[in-house]
């Protein structure tokens, strides 16, 4: 019988619309400062109504050398820089990184959309491959983030890329947790990234689920669970958490941010874009079972809460079916927008900051609850609460759902 091992988080690296380090991000949460901006360059796209996005600001790509960056669109740059920050934060040295006992799991929705444009626009426009540079495809491929991270740090262990849009990075974290739990790896870099492009906003605008009434006031959208919410706002960024076997972390004196104690990833098997309450319930129940916890042990839920009409309602009703009405819930996407392939890792990192502070960060722009979400305890101001165990949920196109449970240690 395999001895199951404990898995802790020993390093964090994040680039997101509200900051690129703990101080900036906490400042944004405490001051209710949104990371959403107007995207003037998207005005040229006829029919695109959602001209707002959560963007990464103030990064120096040259932290990575030129040859390393040749195979990277912004999506891989964001993820590789966040990996570098996380590796430094955890104090992992090259001997360990290159030992074969360290792996990487990271992904994004589709690789770099700008590289897609560069590649296909030129070929279709000219019927020629003459203007295509050597590395463009390597920026596009669905495992571009994880491949670039592995090559950049010489990682020789298990490397995989669970590309599943909004659950890409939560699946990466959950499956990395399992890889360590079952003794396959000792350390995993886990996370994901997203690079926004007008096609990202268009994807949701075409489905009539993107926020379109705040192009003049981007700081006021999105509004999760609010009765007047008008849709989601796309966002970008990258994030990596270092997952490590507990004894391995203790032995080297690593700082431990928290312990992953439960994970589930299940599918609705039902509809490509309409979320299913039942699938969400099953996923939360399975994570609780995996953690061997009753619902009363969870102190806080970081909701997926994209601010779409049907998604928020299904999630609120699913959460109320699994939990009692008092459990505090917040939607950090109200600050960042929906960072898609990065949202799972972003929201785990935000939740770890909350565990550290014993405070629940609020949902901004939420004024009046949608009657169909009634009963959900949506936190709208920072509140003090002794936090020991949190749940973070994510739900993706294709009905792919994840639920992660993390405890303070």
């Amino acid at each position: 019988m395999i001895k199951l091992r404990r898995v802790v988080i020993t390093g964090l690296g994040i680039l997101c619309p509200i900051g690129n380090n703990k101080k900036e991000i906490k400042d944004a949460f405490y001051n209710k400062k949104s990371g959403i901006v107007f995207m003037p360059e998207w005005e040229k796209i006829d029919g695109l109504r959602s001209l707002v996005a959560g963007t990464v600001k103030n990064i120096d790509k040259k932290i990575l050398d030129r040859k390393t960056r040749r195979s990277m669109g912004n999506v891989a740059v964001f993820n590789t820089i966040s990996a570098k920050i996380a590796i430094d934060d955890a104090g992992l040295d090259n001997n360990l990184l290159q030992s074969g006992r360290v792996g990487v799991a990271a992904s994004s929705t589709i690789g770099s959309p700008q590289a897609y444009e560069d590649f296909f626009y030129e070929i279709f426009r000219t019927n020629s491959i003459g203007q295509i540079t050597s590395m463009t495809f390597l920026k596009i491929m669905s495992h571009t983030t994880v491949a670039n991270i592995a090559v950049n740090f010489g990682i020789t262990g298990r490397v995989f890329s669970p590309a599943s849009a909004c659950t890409s990075s939560s699946q990466a974290i959950g499956m990395s947790y399992e890889a360590i739990k079952f003794g396959i790896q000792d350390v995993m870099l886990a996370g994901g990234a997203e690079e926004i492009h007008h096609t990202t906003a268009a994807t949701f605008d075409i489905l009539n689920v993107a926020s379109k009434n705040y192009n003049d006031n981007p700081q006021l959208t999105p509004a999760p669970f609010d009765k007047d919410r008008d849709g989601l706002v796309v966002g970008e960024g990258g994030g990596i958490v270092i997952l490590e076997e507990y004894e391995h972390a203790k032995k080297r004196g690593a700082k431990i941010y928290g312990e992953i104690i439960g994970f589930s990833s299940l599918c609705d098997g039902n509809h490509m874009s309409t979320p299913s309450k039942e699938g969400m319930v099953n996923t939360m129940d399975a994570a609780l079972k995996n953690a061997n916890l009753s619902t009363d042990k969870i102190d806080y839920i970081n909701a997926h809460a994209t601010s779409t009409d049907t998604g928020d309602v299904a999630e609120a009703q699913a959460t109320l079916e699994v939990f009692n009405t008092k459990i505090p819930v917040s939607a950090t996407k109200s600050f960042t927008g929906h960072t898609l392939g990065a949202c799972g890792v972003h929201e785990i990192i935000f939740s770890l900051y909350m565990l550290e502070d014993n405070k629940i960060y609020p949902t901004i722009h939420h004024k009046t609850i949608d009657p169909r979400c009634k009963g959900l305890n949506v936190v709208t101001d920072i509140i003090d609460k002794k936090l020991n165990i949190i749940m973070s949920n994510n739900f993706a196109f294709g009905g792919i759902n994840t639920s992660l449970i993390v405890q303070k240690i």
Partner: protein, 87 residues
């Protein structure tokens, strides 16, 4: 294009797209040893040169692979472009 324009065009690509410093761009500077370019950079350099020349003179030019492989120094690029556009 006169030689000055060719040098500006080539140097601009090496500075903007390959992040080289202007003072590195001596005519006898080796593309591989001094400027640390490699074969992948070679492919992208040809694409960038063809694109910039087209923008400059409004005409498609093709730097043949065999010719491109022989480029060793910054001066070799100036010479190759000169032959291509002025002959």
């Amino acid at each position: 294009m006169d030689l000055g324009e060719i040098k500006d065009l080539v140097n601009n690509i090496l500075i903007e797209e390959f992040e080289k410093e202007e003072e590195e761009l001596k005519e006898d500077a080796s593309l591989f040893d001094d400027l640390d370019l490699d074969s992948l950079d070679g492919i992208d350099l040809v694409v960038a040169l063809e694109k910039a020349i087209k923008t400059k003179i409004g005409k498609e030019v093709k730097i043949e692979e065999e010719k491109a492989k022989k480029l060793q120094t910054v001066g070799d690029i100036y010479k190759a472009i000169d032959e291509l556009v002025n002959n």
